[in-house]
């Protein structure tokens, strides 16, 4: 059949048919915690300094390949918001340059810094946004980009300074499982706040979890861990935390349990066997099973 139509052979001979050697484009979604209260608690380290490091990471990611793209989300007590790209983006040509900076970098830097600074000013007392909200948004946006540009690989980096909202446990886990299904690794950069199920998020999706003890070296953490794409990370010796907290907590007493009782209807975990009915869903248990010899 090649004899009938040998255009491909002709093109190959002329060196025109070679597919361009290019790495798969990658979309980096950075989620930044803008709870003012959380940043206030960080001693000796400011939001401004962190953002300087984040901007280095974003620019470096864009610089790695022409096809690479970034997205930035911020979340605080007012809810999650897309920071970059904006809904109504000014065209690139309208961006005024100072000096010889690359136009894309300049535009992104300006938009991101301005929007995040406004978010940090918002005073929201006693209101917290769960990480499930920005994760859900980031996943929807990543899916859109993956639909529009097939072959794109997505990943998410979360910069967190606050603890989590316990009532949102189910939706947080749902978004972690969705990320795992779509092969989107979630990297976590923990600057402050108590430990959360973010460790599990990183562990399940194959991302890195780093509890940063010395924020002065933040830019180095970013460049040596979070910038590297997940496929390359396997070949490098990376600083990670091997112990992941998988312990189950009793729904009633909030104690950590090792051997617990699970209601077969609502799957709630209990430390002691309840008598007769489930305290959460009020299902009456069947008692035909033989009593145990204990």
């Amino acid at each position: 059949m090649d004899g009938v139509d040998d255009t491909s052979a002709v093109l190959q001979a002329a060196g025109l048919h070679q597919p361009p050697v290019e790495e798969a484009p990658s979309l980096l979604c950075v989620i930044i915690d803008t709870h003012a209260e959380g940043w206030h608690k960080l001693e000796g380290w400011s939001f401004k300094e962190t953002m300087a490091s984040v901007m280095v990471l974003l620019n470096a990611h864009m610089a790695l390949s022409n096809a690479n793209d970034v997205a930035v989300l911020g979340f605080n007590g007012m809810g999650p918001r897309m920071v970059y790209p904006q809904k109504e983006d000014a065209p690139l040509s309208d961006v005024k340059l100072e000096g010889t900076m690359y136009r894309q970098f300049h535009k992104m830097d300006k938009t991101v810094l301005a929007a995040l600074a406004t978010q940090l000013q918002e005073t929201t007392v006693n209101k917290h946004c769960s990480i499930s909200a920005p994760l859900t948004l980031a996943l929807c946006y990543t899916q859109r980009i993956m639909r529009q540009r097939p072959g794109t690989r997505g990943r998410i980096l979360l910069v967190s300074v606050t603890g989590d909202v316990p009532s949102k446990y189910i939706s947080t886990m749902n978004s972690i499982f969705a990320a795992q299904k779509a092969h989107i690794p979630i990297d976590v950069c923990k600057l402050g706040g108590e430990k959360t199920n973010l460790q599990q998020a990183a562990d399940f999706t194959g991302g890195a979890y780093i509890d940063i003890a010395h924020p002065r070296g933040l830019v180095q953490y970013f460049m040596s861990t979070f910038l590297i794409d997940p496929a390359t990370r396997q070949m490098l010796n990376q600083a990670t935390q091997p112990e992941v907290d998988f312990r189950a907590v009793c729904f009633l007493t909030k104690e950590v349990v090792e051997i617990g009782h699970v209601c077969s209807v609502c799957l709630c975990i209990m430390k002691d066997e309840p008598d007769g009915s489930c305290p959460i869903c009020h299902t009456v248990f069947e008692s035909t099973q033989l009593p145990s010899f204990t």
Binding site: N174, F246, F285
Partner: protein
């Protein structure tokens, strides 16, 4: 020129088969159960219906273009998949399924390419993966029907890899002999005999033939299945068979929607994967199906030097320890080989939560949209909006599908802070 092909496709588009499975608890024509009868409109035969041509549905718009209509149809097809039943019903989360695969002469037919058997194995592999993804604390067994007997392909186990290996081995075989429904069902009954009462007992049968060669009376097997509370779902590959209709209706409390015949390969896949969602529990049966189960939450250890695991005898570094007998196992979920305690992680339970708290279906907004309107999830400009009934934010069709199929979260509802 009126060939039957056209009507066939059209009946799929017009949705004469789909709504039955989408309302699994809707009762139809309760001849055998006696408790139904709310919806007993007689359904005529397909050939008695008015003739629809697929090209009659497509109308040009004012500009003489078809693009808008075609886009609308694509959207409709996507939409069809996301409309799940979101009523909060009690579902049997801890499941035990026996998957019965027809491996008889009928599976050598080539109406699906390369043949029915290969297509079935492909989808079965996909089913096993998805089943254990959505039901991590459930178990599965696989049985084959060939040469008039039932053969055990894969024993009851909670580890997907065992089943996947066994299914891959099936690829080298050919369909041969006659199938026997009775033998396969009897084997399934025996496999499910020891399952505790808080777990569901289900059979998923892929039936390619139109006949069954049984050693005895199948009616007795059916009544045995009903007594054992085993629910049977059948996917037929050829045509409806009366005994299958009876079998599914009687074991599912008169619900006839559990028997479906495939229209094409895509439909086959949809039906197959639909069985990954846990069945809702009938109220009458609910009482005996709830229990408090003892489970161990294993802790993960990373060892410097590899040691042997109790489950497979392999050298591993990364493993889990049973909290009761301190035995080392290499993967979870698993029943501890030493003390028979069910070992899981709390996250395995979390994977099933979306069955218990399903995301509400989004409603299509009929009002005109502002020109600047964009999707709340991904910020694409909107042509048609789908709104969450709780938070009233608008979404595009792609986000709607993604949220319901994989994410199980509404971006708008999540954004409400507390």
């Amino acid at each position: 020129m009126d060939d039957s092909d056209d009507e066939y496709v059209d009946s799929y588009a017009v949705d004469s088969v789909q709504p039955r499975q989408r309302h699994p608890r809707r009762k139809r024509d309760g001849k055998s159960s006696g408790d139904a009868g709310a919806d007993s409109q007689p359904q005529g035969y397909a050939w008695e219906d008015e003739y629809h041509r697929s090209w009659d549905v497509v109308q040009e718009d004012s500009g003489g273009s078809l693009a808008g209509v075609v886009a609308g149809m694509v959207e409709q097809a996507k939409r069809k998949r996301v409309l799940h039943d979101t009523r909060p019903v009690q579902r049997g989360i801890i499941r035990n399924i026996v998957l019965i695969l027809d491996m008889s002469f009928a599976m050598a037919d080539v109406d699906m390419r390369p043949n029915r058997l290969q297509v079935m194995i492909n989808y079965a592999i996909e089913f096993v993966n998805e089943y254990f993804n959505q039901n991590p604390i459930s178990q599965l067994a696989i049985v084959g029907m060939r040469d008039g007997i039932a053969v055990l392909v894969s024993p009851l186990d909670g580890n997907p890899n065992v089943h996947l290996d066994n299914l891959q081995a099936l690829r080298k075989q050919y369909g041969s002999g006659v199938p026997s429904l009775q033998n396969a069902l009897e084997m399934a009954k025996v496999i499910l005999m020891h399952v505790p009462s808080h777990c569901t007992k289900e059979v998923l049968l892929i039936f390619g033939a139109l006949m069954s060669s049984d050693p005895g009376d199948i009616n007795k097997t059916i009544s045995d299945l009903v007594l054992n509370k085993i629910r049977v779902r059948i996917i037929g590959l050829a045509a409806q068979v009366a005994v299958c209709q009876r079998l599914t209706a009687e074991t599912n409390f008169g619900d006839k929607s559990m028997y479906n015949v495939v229209l094409n390969e895509a439909h086959f896949r949809d039906l197959f994967l639909e069985s990954t969602t846990p069945l809702s529990i009938n109220k009458l049966a609910a009482r005996s199906q709830s229990a408090c189960v003892e489970m161990g939450f294993a802790s993960r250890v990373n060892e410097a030097k590899p040691s042997l695991c109790t489950c497979h005898g392999r050298l591993t570094k990364r493993s889990y320890t049973c909290p009761r007998c301190l035995a080392k196992v290499c993967s979870l979920p698993m029943v501890c080989p030493c003390c028979q305690l069910t070992l899981i992680l709390s996250t395995h339970l979390a994977r099933s939560y979306h069955h218990l708290f399903p995301l509400e279906n989004f409603e299509r907004k009929e009002t005109n949209l502002e020109p600047s309107a964009s999707c709340f999830g991904c910020m694409t400009p909107l042509d048609h909006a789908y709104a969450c009934p709780k938070c009233h934010n608008s979404f595009c069709i792609d986000c709607d599908v993604y949220c319901h199929e994989s994410l199980h979260n509404c971006p708008g509802c999540e954004a409400i802070t507390t």
